[in-house]
């Protein structure tokens, strides 16, 4: 009855979500790699399978960030809609499908924060207008962070492997460089220099397009 869930130590990929393998009882069910392949091919059944296997993981993240309710449900829903319509951008060789779904979910979460921030500002602006007060005020630091988050998640998407997995393990799993080396099998020195180069790249991105300079 239980699915055999194992965490595969993928070399150079981030297995954000446990990989489920079909048990004897579910012999007819494709394994995760097959679901991913069919998903990329546009097989509708693969969307349903992906939802069965990973929607609870994605929704758990959304609820952690926004609490149970419409915002979290919207994030989960948008994650799967966006993943399905954007499936052409999924590259199986870049990592497992659940990890990609989690990445899409992060974007949707960042968008939701940005949306909330815009709403907050427009409410604030309206209030200040009523009081004829200036519209700049506290909260601009939060606004900067929210905007930078959208920017940097976008930049992460453009980073190739294994650099991307390495930095994601550091950012999102809080692993030290030694733990990342152990997890991925990539030599310590290589992990270190990838971390440095990626942080430099993200810094450059912030310096060119960061919200702090635009505002």
């Amino acid at each position: 009855m239980s699915l055999l869930a194992v965490r595969l130590p993928h070399l150079g990929t981030v297995a954000d979500v446990p990989i489920t393998e079909g048990s004897a009882q579910l012999g007819a069910e494709p394994d995760d790699a097959e679901v991913a392949r069919r998903f990329a091919d546009g097989d509708e059944q693969a969307l349903a399978w992906a939802y069965e296997r990973w929607a609870a993981q994605v929704h758990g993240m959304a609820v952690r960030a926004f609490g149970p309710g419409p915002d979290a449900e919207d994030v989960t829903q948008q994650t799967f809609i966006s993943a399905w319509t954007g499936r052409g951008r999924y590259r199986p060789e870049q990592g497992p499908l659940p990890a990609w779904l989690v990445g899409v979910c992060r974007h949707k979460m960042a968008d939701t924060w940005a949306k909330r921030e815009r709403q907050r500002r427009s409410t604030e602006a309206a209030t200040n207008e009523a009081r004829s007060a200036p519209t700049t005020g506290p909260g601009s630091e939060l606004a900067t962070e929210v905007a930078d988050r959208v920017l940097l998640l976008g930049e992460l998407n453009r980073i190739g492997q294994p650099q991307r997995s390495i930095i994601e393990l550091a950012f999102f799993e809080d692993l030290t460089h030694a733990q990342i080396a152990a997890r991925t099998g990539i030599p310590l020195g290589t992990v270190k220099s990838h971390i440095r180069r990626t942080l430099e790249r993200l810094r450059d991105r912030l310096e060119v397009d960061g919200a702090a300079l635009r505002s």
């Binding site: 929607a55 993981q57 399905w84 930078d148 550091a170 942080l199 993200l202």
Partner: protein, 263 residues
């Protein structure tokens, strides 16, 4: 003066522990500090708890799929029971934990902001598994300790066994005594001698994010006064760390023994 290797500065942006030499240089070098600060910005922005790898799985309510089906016009449906089964999958997450590593700069950070900045998560994520292990390790189960009257030292109001942290060869015990409204922490420690640096004892909150330094300790027994208003229920973990003589008053992140006070 030789600057830190750029790779090491990137690790410092993640609050990883540097070698004593690099840490000492960084503490004094404005140029290296600026580099770390500039690299840290993206860590602050992205390494927040909300974006961390999935934790607890929660099955979405049925209307979520309904909206997906409507938007994508697919003619299939997931099986509800299969979606619910996704919750049973073990929560993925960091399987390794740095445990006793903590960046000194984070030790004093106290406020938790709504959309987290880096520090609450990093200190929590690295400390909590360990704190939890300590709790499970039996100090809670040690049971209530009767208040014993001792003419000289006053009444024992709390005590703790101190167990080594991973890869540490040390042990000890701690007790808090109260006499005429004055409380003292007595620790008895079996510790290796240090070539340089010193041992310091702290009282930590259970999330190990906030802490109060109590004083310098050494092998054998040391008695130290406790701040009068310190709430031991809020700071129940006794922690002994190795501190370099670097002038940095915050916790080095290298703990040797730890235990929870029970009264």
């Amino acid at each position: 003066m030789q600057h830190c290797d750029p790779d090491e500065l990137a690790l410092a942006a993640f609050d990883e522990q540097l070698s004593a030499e690099d840490a000492a240089h960084l503490a004094d070098c404005a140029e290296c500090q600026r580099e770390v600060a500039s690299l840290r910005r993206s860590v602050d922005v992205l390494a927040v708890p909300e974006l961390a790898a999935p934790g607890q799985a929660i099955a979405p309510p049925p209307q979520v799929w309904a909206a997906i089906a409507a938007a994508t016009a697919v003619n299939v449906s997931p099986r509800e029971e299969a979606v619910a089964r996704g919750v049973d999958a073990p929560a993925p997450g960091p399987t390794e934990s740095a445990g006793h590593e903590l960046a000194g700069s984070d030790a004093g950070s106290a406020t938790v902001v709504p959309i987290g900045s880096r520090s609450p998560r990093r200190s929590a994520a690295r400390w909590l598994p360990l704190a939890a292990a300590v709790l499970v390790g039996g100090f809670i189960g040690a049971g209530a300790v009767a208040v014993t009257q001792n003419g000289a030292g006053g009444a024992v109001v709390a005590q703790a066994g101190l167990d080594p942290l991973p890869e540490q060869n040390a042990s000890g015990s701690a007790e808090v005594r109260e006499s005429r409204g004055v409380r003292e922490l007595r620790v008895d420690l079996d510790l290796p001698e240090l070539d340089d640096g010193y041992y310091e004892v702290w009282l930590l909150q259970t999330d190990a994010q906030r802490m109060v330094p109590v004083g310098v300790v050494q092998r054998g027994a040391t008695v130290l006064p406790l701040p009068a208003d310190l709430d031991l229920a809020a700071y129940p973990l006794v922690d002994v760390s190795v501190e370099p003589l670097d002038g940095d008053p915050t916790h080095s992140g290298v703990s040797v023994v730890r235990g929870e006070l029970s009264s």
